[in-house]
Symmetry: D2
Subunit: 449 residues, 4 copies
Amino acid sequence: MISRVSVRLISRRCFSHSAVRREIRDIAELPDRIHPKYQEARNNDLLTLHWPSPPRNILITKKPSAPSITTLVIEYAQHIHSTYPSTNLIFRPATAHEIQCSLPFPIYTAFENRDTENDPGFQDKVDLICTLGGDGTILRASSLFATTDHVPPVLSFSMGTLGFLGEWKFKEYKRAFREVYMSGANAGYGSALLEDEHHHGNETHSGAAAAQSEHNLLSGWSSIRGKSMGPGRGARVLLRNRLKVGIFGADGQRVTEPETETAGGDVYAMNEVILHRGIHPHLAIIEVFIGGRFLTEAVADGMIVSTPTGSTAYSLSSGGSIVHPLVPSLLLTPVCPRSLSFRPLVLPANTPITLRLSEKNRSEEVEISVDGVRMSKGLRLGMEVRVWGEELERETHGLEKHEKTWRGGVPSIVRGSRSGLGENEDHWVGGLNGLLKFNYPFGDDGASQ
Amino acid sequence: MISRVSVRLISRRCFSHSAVRREIRDIAELPDRIHPKYQEARNNDLLTLHWPSPPRNILITKKPSAPSITTLVIEYAQHIHSTYPSTNLIFRPATAHEIQCSLPFPIYTAFENRDTENDPGFQDKVDLICTLGGDGTILRASSLFATTDHVPPVLSFSMGTLGFLGEWKFKEYKRAFREVYMSGANAGYGSALLEDEHHHGNETHSGAAAAQSEHNLLSGWSSIRGKSMGPGRGARVLLRNRLKVGIFGADGQRVTEPETETAGGDVYAMNEVILHRGIHPHLAIIEVFIGGRFLTEAVADGMIVSTPTGSTAYSLSSGGSIVHPLVPSLLLTPVCPRSLSFRPLVLPANTPITLRLSEKNRSEEVEISVDGVRMSKGLRLGMEVRVWGEELERETHGLEKHEKTWRGGVPSIVRGSRSGLGENEDHWVGGLNGLLKFNYPFGDDGASQ
Amino acid sequence: MISRVSVRLISRRCFSHSAVRREIRDIAELPDRIHPKYQEARNNDLLTLHWPSPPRNILITKKPSAPSITTLVIEYAQHIHSTYPSTNLIFRPATAHEIQCSLPFPIYTAFENRDTENDPGFQDKVDLICTLGGDGTILRASSLFATTDHVPPVLSFSMGTLGFLGEWKFKEYKRAFREVYMSGANAGYGSALLEDEHHHGNETHSGAAAAQSEHNLLSGWSSIRGKSMGPGRGARVLLRNRLKVGIFGADGQRVTEPETETAGGDVYAMNEVILHRGIHPHLAIIEVFIGGRFLTEAVADGMIVSTPTGSTAYSLSSGGSIVHPLVPSLLLTPVCPRSLSFRPLVLPANTPITLRLSEKNRSEEVEISVDGVRMSKGLRLGMEVRVWGEELERETHGLEKHEKTWRGGVPSIVRGSRSGLGENEDHWVGGLNGLLKFNYPFGDDGASQ
Amino acid sequence: MISRVSVRLISRRCFSHSAVRREIRDIAELPDRIHPKYQEARNNDLLTLHWPSPPRNILITKKPSAPSITTLVIEYAQHIHSTYPSTNLIFRPATAHEIQCSLPFPIYTAFENRDTENDPGFQDKVDLICTLGGDGTILRASSLFATTDHVPPVLSFSMGTLGFLGEWKFKEYKRAFREVYMSGANAGYGSALLEDEHHHGNETHSGAAAAQSEHNLLSGWSSIRGKSMGPGRGARVLLRNRLKVGIFGADGQRVTEPETETAGGDVYAMNEVILHRGIHPHLAIIEVFIGGRFLTEAVADGMIVSTPTGSTAYSLSSGGSIVHPLVPSLLLTPVCPRSLSFRPLVLPANTPITLRLSEKNRSEEVEISVDGVRMSKGLRLGMEVRVWGEELERETHGLEKHEKTWRGGVPSIVRGSRSGLGENEDHWVGGLNGLLKFNYPFGDDGASQ
Ligand SMILES: NC(=O)C1=CN([C@@H]2O[C@H](COP(=O)(O)OP(=O)(O)OC[C@H]3O[C@@H](n4cnc5c(N)ncnc54)[C@H](O)[C@@H]3O)[C@@H](O)[C@H]2O)C=CC1
Ligand SMILES: NC(=O)C1=CN([C@@H]2O[C@H](COP(=O)(O)OP(=O)(O)OC[C@H]3O[C@@H](n4cnc5c(N)ncnc54)[C@H](O)[C@@H]3O)[C@@H](O)[C@H]2O)C=CC1
Ligand SMILES: NC(=O)C1=CN([C@@H]2O[C@H](COP(=O)(O)OP(=O)(O)OC[C@H]3O[C@@H](n4cnc5c(N)ncnc54)[C@H](O)[C@@H]3O)[C@@H](O)[C@H]2O)C=CC1
Ligand SMILES: NC(=O)C1=CN([C@@H]2O[C@H](COP(=O)(O)OP(=O)(O)OC[C@H]3O[C@@H](n4cnc5c(N)ncnc54)[C@H](O)[C@@H]3O)[C@@H](O)[C@H]2O)C=CC1
């Protein structure tokens, strides 16, 4: 407890450089993350979010180099801190440094120079992700969890430049956060939850965080409940399938991307993986295999393997169909293929896809990008990229009905309309029409044909 | 029994007109159909066909008005009859009349003038469908089962004009039929099967067919087994999702298509349902709703709602993506839309889609076609077409592992390569490359770029 | 003169049925048409309209069965009649009958029961066409001149349902008409024009119309000039290439379409000619020849041969590129081709294109439509459709510079912006962006990305 | 003369390094180039090549780093040298160094270290270009003439990897060269030609080349004529429009690309100019103006402005229509636009098009490529790329009919079929079907549907 007090004192002297360093705490100090459940609702493809106990560790990410957004991030953080005092706010290192002086309470980060093998990272601690920015901000946040199949739920606010994935408008942030925070805290199994929370707490909390956990029990849901619109209303979640990308060297070994800290492992992508000729002037020649069988040789600027979520991103620009995020599939879309007959394909999500550089390829390598971020090393002859759709698993084994849950994907909190039934597709249909100008009518004012 | 004898005699005098009539027997005389099981195989999205007892009632359909195919149908029928004496051959009425004189044994049909409410039809009797023709022949055969969710397995031979859905070449017919006939007749539950057959026989056979059933027990699998390539080899089945189409009048009541005998019910389509302006010169204006919510107003020649199977048919010509038949989805593809921004959509199979004529539409009605067959009445103002993807159900409840099965869809017998692993996609990838000339390489001979 | 007076008297008794008949006069009574010149302007691909003498015979066409437009037609006619008293107003027969009682002066038409071989038709008499309606109205008006290569200039007003070809808004009609009427009436060659007019008049006028011609000389331009914005301002004209369609029987003879009165001749289309399977369920199979050489066999719903003007009509919906109306070319665009590799083609305007039904085609005939109007007879085996781009000819031979002119095409009066240079493309670029929503930006309000 | 003899001697000692240097002569020594005429033929859009006197200076270019092609280049050069002794063979510097030892006669080049302002280059000396390689080789050869509007005729042989622009097969090289060499040397104006040649010779030849010119008069056409297939047969030429690209700095001044030696001038492209995001991960944002007027803001990977010739290159891969090389037009095709409604446009060849980086663009610059070659500097904010179609001019002023000619474009020698009429489109239609697999039929063998 002493350390916390001193930090608070120090934070008032934020102009002092040495003080600043201490104000940003190590994420390792936080209790371990809480895994919510995602339960099926009647007549609805969206799931309902159920916290076993109130979320505590909130990651807030933002679009970089946009000062106006930084201001709003501070406003947001202050609101969360004062309304939900038992929560801890986590930021990416750069953001933490940028805003810590503006916040009169300690914040957390996963320091970049930590031992990534042993020290905990975001994926060990974050209960809930909040993003303030555009689609890129959501993609970047999701890529912090590129090596785990348990991504925390994502509450995304689109800011100005409207994105397709960003569900909420910033001005709704109070209602939105409350809805997510309270989700699943319904009277019905209140006591069970409390117990569960106790149990959970004992097991996972440690050090300075343990006391805080106690505090949660008192100040968490119960203190908020009065403000809530009713305990039974759950936040709705769209589980967005990702795809898993593994890069293999000519020796058959996995190639590691040092920057993403994926020690020898595969990474998940929310939108897509792309091979592209990049700066090389000549057409890339890429061999495509599906299910282990040779499908075709693409002579093209590049090849995209996309999730349904990514079907409205690069794949769309390259002529792919728009695929609803709930269709379990992968899209194979060529970029500027030198062919009249390379129609985009939609494959079952569980089809393994392999991409190799052809021996006929004229440059030494082609670029590999995951969710719009280029990897430091390209694909060379002999190497291969292997892609699988992420399998969303329904965990049912030995569970009571209300305990069944889903796992995998990016659990995206969907903005609900107040009215009920049949409005579930709101967000997607709304995005098609409102943002992508899908089938936009001809005529003078866009209103009538 | 007397009548049967006389029929046989008469059949030798096929030139006699009155005799001919009697030679074609009523399908009602046949034992009820046998429902096979479709079981999951390891590492394979295809299912394995398991007959509880040997199939008996074989429907053979063919492409109409193609004399050369008629000759092959006769050859095929004679082979089945002589090699599998306990089978009964069923034909559509027109085909039965066309070929009966060429066959020295009785054949069966469902007479057109029967009481469709009470008298049994193809869906009550057929164990196995064999089609000789092109994709149209398969579509027509499947539409004989447009009102049931238990379509018999389909063994399709493509004849000359090669189709995408037709799996087998005619010259393979002996091997193909044997493989299907024997499928699942493995040593393991041989005796159980015999018993089952007894039981089944007693329960369902009736009248003249009962004696024949006994014959089956002796002459069925056991008599063939020696010729088989080994009892354990099962035919592989691709369950092709259909979609269900209901047409509703302005009064909210289902509209019946008299010709398809769908008394007040919905029909299933294997490829697609299409609304099209048809002969009307002006663009059709159609409102599209998904999940009960307004999606868009299509100003177009027409609108296609297609299954993944149909993604290589009309939807392809209209610019839709190619969707693998195992992706549980529906395609919404406009035909010549008067819009720059109507990109084809791929929706979850369980999304209900509704199409309505807009009040702005200038003609009185638009055509409705199901699998390429135009309905006798078009869609008028106030009416609506409702479409759902067929749900393939996995029946597991209370069943032993080997009893679990799938239901729904069109169970299509896939032509397997002899080698095993990884070759499962053969038929589809092969069709893309070999038939649709997918990503056909530029260059002088199509072999090198 | 007597007859004219009596008509005037009679017109006051329009309720009398017999009187009505006489009030609509025969177009034959009018003086022959005046052919304007189209001269090149500096730095400008648009031409300038030059009347040798004021236009007299004005054809007004309208969208059928739209009562609100009929009212505006009457307003328009009354304005022309009272402001330009020396003009005569011509209508299509149905319109003439519909509105004559509302107009207190005689109107003209080409009666449908006239001897089309010998009696003059619209193409012999009309100086200027005004259309009130949408694109269809312009197409229908243009098709009244489908057999001549001298289409009168077209002043088109779009009414409500905005069209792409309609240049002017109805509320601008006074300015628009004055601009066109005065176009070329500049001081410079005023007297020459008067002479020309005399000459022309003597040669061509006849009967009752001769006196009126005299009147023109006094009341034409000179009476209006004061109201004009200056004599030198010429209306700008976009010459829209048409294409010429000839249909030939199996005997090699031209087939005549009775309804369009094209006695044995070819017809011009402003948008396109289309072959389409129409009501036949099966794909049409059409052989395409260019320059006499076999190009390809289209297996499709249909084939479009389009002008650049038509590139924003049906061809657009079928996936064709947008071609600027000043590119001398023909578009060959398939409708729903059963091919992955049938990319639309743009050919030189002078390439002869021939379309034939293949022997493999399964229906007896395919529909032929010209500018959206289906011909009474379809294309059958052995017949062929031959298409050429209309050649816009520059008549220069032995002419002074200011006399050079262009001939052919549909001379469409373009709506000019007040400012000068560089704004010539206004109408087309404006139409792309404003009406077709070309490259419509993504984002919330369509204003920002 | 002495120097030449010594060179010959030296050439036998090609292993000596110093000797080698002298064997490659400076192109400045050659007589100035001869400009052929391109005359219109009846019923034919192709032109006929007419040499006023036999061509002398032959540039031979080849695909780099392909040893097998080098061997054929030597074979080709030896054939030309021995059969047409009055010709001089020119190579690019690298090729000259690569092959000189294999050729027992002097060859010419334009040395890279020459004073490009004052010393003559390829465009001053080359009469005829022969390319051995693929489309890239033709593009590179054409780019040697990127600053002149008089490109010599191009005789292109495609080697192995078949190209779309390469007309001839290498095995035809003897016939092909003879046909081009003799083209226009018809009896009719033989003597006039001789005179012309005298005259021309006096005027332009200089130094050591003068004597050679005399030799030409004797050994040129007259010596070959016997071998020719008849003097009247002219080589047919397709004039391929290029486009002209100017790059302007923020200061409004032209930016020079040092490598292409285009001192302050514009360059011509045969295929296209492309702006592309290149290595930058974010979408490029480019403003497009046509005719000085804002057309649209492209948010895309890039923008292509292409000639009709380039319509089968990158523009095709990006979804553009195929435009026949004789349609005077420019294509505006976006590369992967983030828009559902950016349909490719075809504009009149004389429309000026301007591309600018938007202020919203996120990277500092975008790549500029001309005919597949990236410029050393990209396009930055404030700069602009201006593009015009090259105007093919018909020079008629004061000329006799047979003297009229065309100027501009890349005069490409088309491979003629022996038969006459109607076969003119051979090369293009043949290329579509044979190489690009245009509308390639579905079905088993590509032969029947
Ligand atoms: N994604 C794509 O389609 C890309 C296309 N290119 C094209 O390549 C051209 C440069 O050619 P290379 O240096 O050989 O590059 P490259 O080695 O990448 O080959 C380009 C391909 O385009 C073909 N090609 C070039 N011009 C053509 C034409 N006018 N019509 C039909 N095919 C044509 C060539 O035969 C070759 O197959 C550029 O002008 C550009 O048009 C360049 C980059 C990407
Ligand atoms: N699926 C489609 O896109 C179809 C298009 N059409 C087009 O309609 C034309 C006939 O027009 P209507 O009789 O009014 O039929 P309609 O009432 O079906 O309307 C056709 C639509 O096309 C527009 N249009 C016509 N010509 C155009 C042009 N040159 N550029 C841009 N838009 C144009 C009209 O404004 C109208 O919105 C035909 O020439 C054909 O091009 C006809 C049938 C189907
Ligand atoms: N423009 C087009 O592409 C049109 C396509 N069709 C399609 O034809 C089907 C009816 O077939 P038919 O009665 O034989 O008509 P049809 O004789 O017009 O032939 C249709 C063609 O489509 C092929 N086909 C049918 N289903 C297919 C599938 N699932 N995948 C790949 N190819 C397929 C057939 O092999 C045949 O080549 C309809 O369900 C519709 O999908 C019907 C009309 C026009
Ligand atoms: N030509 C193209 O369309 C290109 C697209 N991209 C896409 O951009 C993504 C990376 O995004 P940023 O880093 O923000 O790059 P960015 O700044 O280039 O923006 C990409 C655009 O795509 C939108 N976007 C991203 N994901 C989307 C989705 N799933 N659905 C709809 N729109 C989506 C964003 O809102 C933004 O407008 C990549 O995953 C890739 O899909 C990247 C490069 C080129």
